[in-house]
Symmetry: C2
Subunit: 190 residues, 2 copies
């Protein structure tokens, strides 16, 4: 829970009382590797903060391929904001790719915090914007790189993960086939 508080404090001030309130609203939960936290079609009713482990966000494209949109690691929020805010079914899946722990804040809790803590909305918005901006920059950067560069960049960020998740997850994220990824890994290790 402290990880969440420390993270929040990067984006604004919170006094002891406010921190206590947040802690009282957060619910610590766990999810096993491979389990889906969120499935397309379901309406998200909470926002979660990853404290341990890694998630991936994925969806099916028009050809029926399963595409990994991006990975999310520790100390980041996970939420399909559009669906969450509008109360409509999500179009994406969120899957734990390792055993993970997270803190859940229900929609009611978020509303309560928003009404009680002056500056809460501002903190949340800063976090959301930062998260999106990072995603745009990262994916955009990938567009101008070749597959090997993209793989190396991923490897740099998730060194322990690259060889422990299914090829399909990573290949679809990198925008290449599983075979190509297999060959790229082979070339690098030579």
């Amino acid at each position: 829970m402290d990880a969440l508080i420390n993270y929040l404090l990067q984006f604004g001030h919170l006094n002891t009382q406010q921190i206590a309130l947040i802690k009282s609203k957060g619910v610590e939960k766990e999810i096993k590797k491979d389990a889906y936290y969120q499935k397309a079609g379901k309406i998200p009713r909470e926002v979660i903060f990853l404290t341990e482990g890694i998630f991936r966000i994925c969806y099916y494209n028009h050809k029926g391929d399963e595409i990994t949109k991006y990975f999310i690691d520790e100390n980041n929020f996970v939420a399909d904001l559009d669906s969450y805010n509008q109360g409509i079914p999500s179009t994406e899946y969120a899957q734990a790719v390792t055993d993970s722990k997270y803190i859940a804040l229900s929609k009611e809790a978020m509303l309560d915090l928003s009404l009680t803590i002056v500056g809460w909305d501002e903190i949340v918005n800063k976090i959301i914007v930062k998260g999106f901006a990072e995603k745009v920059t990262k994916i955009s950067t990938m567009m101008s790189e070749d597959a090997t560069e993209r793989y190396l960049r991923f490897f740099e960020r998730f060194p322990t993960l690259a060889n422990r998740i299914p090829l399909s997850y990573l290949a679809s994220y990198l925008g290449i086939t599983q075979s190509s990824l297999s060959r790229i890994r082979k070339n690098i290790s030579d």
Copy 2:
């Protein structure tokens, strides 16, 4: 100016007085094709709403290539939010790729609106989040497509633009070389 108001009204309610205030704060400006609205190194001091024309956001990667990160068309905000909020130099360029018109809202105006109009911040944040979410989804989708599909998708969205902007702008956005783009266009027209 009405385009801006109509756009804002999609995200929340505004009464006549509030609308008048917003209009009084907005400054209508123009920019010529090819001119840079924003350059890397400058600190952005305003947010703008594009009413006519198309901008592109670009930067230089570590190899020195100029990369088009994305295009922005009418009825969208343009802002390097990170730099704008923190008051630090931008790392990106924003260039008009066609003659354009926009409404500028200075940082002071934005603050004023924020303090005066209840719900202003909420409207602004909804817009920001929506814009980012769209960008992430769009670029992410491109990752799973081949160059021809990416070009066709761009062509669909900006039919009049595809043949009127320099190859380099579009090619770097699509993540391919100018030669490849030239060949793709040729193949399609056959």
